[in-house]
């Protein structure tokens, strides 16, 4: 019995080693290493045709009249991860540098969106930023629900300064026009 068990165990081990070595090779060839995991998850996608939902999330952007057909074959590329929020925070901090005093990310909606041809799980959020000089700005962004990558921003404020000459300017580098 023990021998049989050891034989079976060794057999399984060999298969596993072969399996993982094969994947290492694929990694060396820059193949996506997460393929198996992704496929496994995709196989488990729950589709609700009545509500046009995938994994409980609304699918927006399906062609009217062809929704069910499209939903059946929809290949969403990314996998939602709670780390999108950290990714977004990091991206905003990179852009704002040391001028951000407070940053709030308010999740508004999660859905599947066909972004420029690619179906993605996305998060729609409101970003609120307070700057070092207490300046406030609110706007919305759509981000990749896996990485937090900013796909679009909208609903920017319309600002009316008292002095129209106070707007942001970039001086012309004098090296371009030495004759001046």
């Amino acid at each position: 019995m023990t021998r049989k068990f050891l034989f079976f165990f060794s057999f399984v081990l060999l298969i596993l080693i072969y399996y993982f070595t094969g994947n290492e090779d694929k990694k060396g060839k820059q193949q996506p290493p997460m393929v198996t995991k992704i496929q496994a998850k995709k196989m488990g996608h729950q589709i609700n045709f009545e509500k046009l939902q995938l994994d409980g999330k609304k699918v927006i952007g399906l062609t009217p009249g062809k929704e069910k057909e499209q939903l059946k074959s929809l290949q969403v590329l990314n996998i939602p991860s709670p780390e999108w929020q950290e990714g977004l925070k990091k991206a905003l901090e990179t852009q704002g540098g040391n001028t951000i005093k407070e940053l709030t990310i308010q999740n508004i909606d999660s859905f599947v969106w066909i972004h420029e041809g690619a179906p993605l799980f996305v998060e729609s959020v409101i970003v609120k930023i307070k700057g070092n000089e207490n300046q406030l700005v609110n706007f919305r962004v759509l981000v990749d629900a896996q990485t937090g990558k900013i796909l679009r921003s909208w609903d920017q404020p319309v600002i009316d300064p008292i002095d129209p000459r106070s707007n942001f300017k970039i001086k012309v580098d004098p090296r371009y026009h030495t004759e001046n």
Partner: protein, 856 residues
């Protein structure tokens, strides 16, 4: 007499505030006894409060700014609003705190929204709206924060009621088009979507608005600024620290202007919630807006409409006489205003504030050139006021008020129809009579998934698109007797002539034949789409009416080059000093434009300020365009967004050949003329990496790289180059690749922008105008006092730190301008406008090749 009364009021205010009510009773008694009619405003407030409830929710308010009440020299120091209060109590709100209600008529049925607006002091305040006093009024000490909140709500309510009345009028007026079988844009289902206000369905979710009411903050900590924030939604009115008693809220026209931005936002989005009942409405995930960072024409139109709304409210032809005027910054709204001091500006056809001549005109400082949305917007505000006056004169002069109310209602209706079509993210533009149009054929802004990109970038709302759609609606609703026009004596000719007076007759047809966005031969009237509509015909502009509006060929715009005659000309400016780029990135962020910077392979820390492009840098690029024509070009837009300019050779790898779009990239350099290069794909699909291969795509990044192998030099994709040239860069070493700790794939990463890319969100530049035979720098920057570029001029480019120095790139930027003769219309198809799908290609543009070499 008036002065004496104001002095007495002031005296009493001080008495009331500082000595208390008891000590003021004696002079109050004396004054009231000698001159009872002079004391109405606030000093006898306790004596006029009725116990029958008739004064509940009332207060004394200032109906005008101190400029109107006390003359142009009043303020800005020591402003005391107690001098300007109404003689009677006016109703602020029937609610028990400083909140307001809204209502709109949909034909004969009234829809009410309670608590649709609030008045607070500042965004930092955690206090609820101020409740009524014990006497049930909203009478608070003049100049107190509560006093300003009361007055703010009063004027916000006035503006909102006016807007909703006019939108109700528009709804009713356009509705009759159903009987005439003519499509309209203001949807019948607006009453279900509730998008006539900010209310939406926010109590259910907050996808549309953060709050279900508009908040007015009267005393914002906002130095020298006022703003409209669509996320709130809110209006924030600031002040100036150097004048402690001066606030924008003291000038009602500023409230109307900011509300003007709010209602413009509403009108743009009227069609972005679709459903035949309240329970079935579905909202587009984005909202349209009017204006981008820095200068552009959409932002200028927004400012022009906001100024016009101030005119709608107070009939005065100057905006912000007090809040801006005390600093010599008020804006005229018509040529009749005496702020215009330069000769030649008047209300004659020749004297109009015409495009593009007056784009940079500042009435308060006409010696300087100022590239700003507020200045350029004057052309729009002046046009709208002139249109209103024309309607009064032609049709409505006999109205009791001289026609102001009815004329402004029609103009607001035209704006609502125009903006709702242009901002339609569901991409239909029209309905099937009263029901939403089904199917997958679209009639504006390409299609629902790309509509945001189209209406903001690829086919944005410019002076041309705006004036063309306005003209179409004027013809449809006012001029045309066949559609029972409301003011047929304002004929199509008169309308075109007025537009031309403003240089805005920038189009050849009205683009009103209803063809679809992807196929010019498919019309909304087709039997399978909306068979109730007859097939519309394309309305042509009468060329005799085009006198001032000059159209110029796109062939005459190019990148400037240094010549013997012009040795100082620069093709493009590179901004690569660390401080300018970091400041620009922060400016973008604090204006609400987040850009996805690459991590690890490019950063401003690599910026070396050598005014060249070096590995790892994040640089600003300002193309210096030359106008080779003899007329001014206006509204010049440079696009660095992906477009259909390549032929994919291998779907698996996505390797491509550039299409031959000009004589610069030749076939011997790898250009392709056949296959997908023979036509433009109307479906916008970016090249994005799939799990195992490339997805099929129709739009490629703008930058290609030169591959030099022996004697062969070819322009190839960046992904091909990174493998071919022994760079062996992994995806994770590419620009735009973004992952987090547990993720090792980025599915919206584009391998063909691995080395060089224009940053999304900063890949469009806008230039107000370029004079004849001059460059942009010579036309605008050099002659202006600031000698600077503005934020809207800049494209942001990232260079991968692994690019070998000496590598050569070519970026195919696309350029067009608003008064272009061949950027919008198809000469081979009766001058019908290009379909939206064609804006995915080169036909409507002049392709500008931006060539550069990476320097160490």
């Amino acid at each position: 007499m008036i002065l004496a009364r104001q002095w007495m009021i002031k005296f009493l205010t001080i008495s009331m505030l500082h000595l208390g009510a008891i000590s003021s009773l004696c002079p109050l008694f004396l004054l009231t006894s000698c001159n009872p009619t002079e004391l109405q405003p606030k000093n006898i407030k306790s004596s006029v409060i009725a116990s029958d409830g008739s004064t509940d929710g009332t207060a004394y308010v200032y109906k005008n700014s101190p400029y109107v009440s006390a003359g142009p020299l009043y303020g800005p120091g020591n402003v005391d609003m107690s001098s300007f209060l109404s003689e009677e109590l006016v109703l602020i709100t029937k609610n028990t705190s400083l909140t307001g209600n809204c209502s709109m008529f949909f034909n004969f049925s009234k829809t009410e929204l309670t608590d649709c607006m609030r008045s607070l002091s500042s965004p930092g305040s955690t206090l609820p709206p101020v409740p009524r006093n014990a006497d049930e009024t909203f009478i608070f000490p003049p100049n107190s924060p509560e006093f300003y909140q009361v007055n703010g709500l009063y004027h916000l309510t006035q503006g909102t009621e006016t807007f909703l009345n006019k939108l109700g009028f528009a709804y009713k007026t356009v509705n009759r088009m159903n009987a005439l079988r003519i499509p309209k844009s203001i949807p019948d289902y607006l009453k279900h979507s509730n998008l006539f206000w900010f209310k939406a369905l926010t109590s259910i979710d907050r996808r549309i608005f953060n709050s279900d009411f508009l908040t007015l903050y009267s005393l914002c900590d906002l130095e020298g600024n006022a703003l409209f924030d669509p996320v709130g939604p809110s209006i924030c009115l600031g002040g100036l620290k150097r004048y402690p008693n001066f606030y924008f809220v003291q000038d009602p026209s500023v409230i109307y202007h900011e509300l003007g931005h709010g209602i413009t936002n509403i009108m743009l989005n009227l069609r972005n919630g679709v459903g035949t009942s309240s329970s079935t409405v579905s909202y587009h995930p984005f909202r349209s807006s009017l204006g981008y960072i820095g200068y552009d024409e959409a932002g200028s139109i927004n400012e022009g409409i906001a100024d016009y709304f101030s005119y709608v409210m107070n009939k005065r032809e100057r905006f912000a006489e007090f809040a801006l005027g005390r600093f010599n910054l008020a804006r005229p709204i018509s040529e009749a205003d005496d702020l215009h001091t330069i000769p030649g500006i008047d209300e004659t056809p020749e004297g109009r504030l015409s495009y593009p001549q007056y784009l940079l005109y500042d009435a308060n400082d006409s010696e300087d050139l100022l590239e700003g949305v507020h200045q350029a917007g004057q052309i729009i505000s002046h046009y709208l006021v002139a249109l209103t006056k024309n309607l009064k004169k032609e049709c409505f002069l006999n109205e009791p008020d001289g026609g102001h109310d009815l004329s402004t209602s029609y103009v607001m209706m035209l704006l609502a129809e125009t903006l709702s079509e242009l901002g339609d993210l569901n991409a239909k533009g029209v309905d099937n009579l009263s029901s939403p149009l089904g199917g997958s054929t679209y009639f504006t802004n390409l299609d629902p998934t790309n509509s945001f990109l189209w209406t903001h970038f690829n086919n944005p709302i410019t002076y041309r698109r705006f004036s063309q759609t306005m003209a179409k609606n004027i013809n449809k609703y006012l001029s045309n007797p066949n559609s029972s026009g409301a003011c047929t004596s304002f004929t199509k000719d008169k309308s075109e002539k007025l537009l031309d007076d403003y240089g805005l007759l920038l189009f050849k047809t009205y683009n009103d034949n209803g063809n679809s966005t992807k196929n010019a031969a498919v019309f909304y009237s087709d039997p399978t789409i909306a068979p109730d509509y007859p097939k519309p015909t394309l309305t042509a502009v009468s060329e005799n009416n085009r006198r001032k509006s000059v159209l110029v060929s796109k062939q005459l715009i190019q990148l400037a080059t240094r010549t013997d005659e012009n040795p100082s000309r620069v093709s493009y400016y590179v901004i690569d000093n660390n401080s300018d780029i970091e400041a620009f990135l922060k400016e973008l962020l604090f204006k609400g434009f987040a850009v996805p910077l690459s991590t690890n392979v490019a950063s401003t820390v690599y910026n070396n300020n050598n005014i060249r492009i070096s590995p790892g840098e994040v640089v600003g690029i300002i193309p210096n365009l030359l106008n080779n024509s003899n007329s001014t070009m206006g509204g010049v837009q440079v696009l660095a967004t992906d477009w259909d300019h390549v032929h994919v050779e291998d779907q698996q790898t996505g390797q491509f050949k550039p299409c031959k779009v000009d004589n610069i990239t030749t076939e011997s350099q790898g250009a392709e003329t056949k296959g997908s290069c023979e036509s433009t794909d109307p479906n916008y699909i970016r090249m994005i990496k799939n799990k195992t291969s490339q997805l099929p795509f129709s739009a490629a990044p703008v930058c290609m790289v030169l591959s030099e192998e022996g004697e062969s030099t070819k322009w190839i994709s960046q992904s091909e180059f990174r493998k071919k040239q022994g760079l062996t860069l992994l995806d994770k070493d590419c620009l735009s690749y973004s992952t987090n700790q547990t993720t090792d794939q980025d599915f919206n990463f584009n391998p063909h922008e691995c080395l060089i890319r224009f940053l999304p969100g900063a890949n469009e530049a806008f230039f107000s105008k370029i004079d004849a035979q001059k460059t942009y720098y010579e036309s605008v920057v050099k002659p202006s006092r600031s000698g600077s570029f503005n934020a809207g001029n800049v494209l942001l480019l990232e260079a991968n730190k692994w690019i070998p120095p000496g590598t050569k790139f070519r970026c195919r930027l696309r350029v067009r301008f608003s008064n272009c003769s061949d950027c919008y219309t198809d000469g081979t198809n009766n001058n019908d406008d290009f379909t939206d799908g064609q804006y995915n290609g080169e036909k409507p543009f002049q392709v500008i090749n931006f060539d550069f070499e990476i320097n160490d």
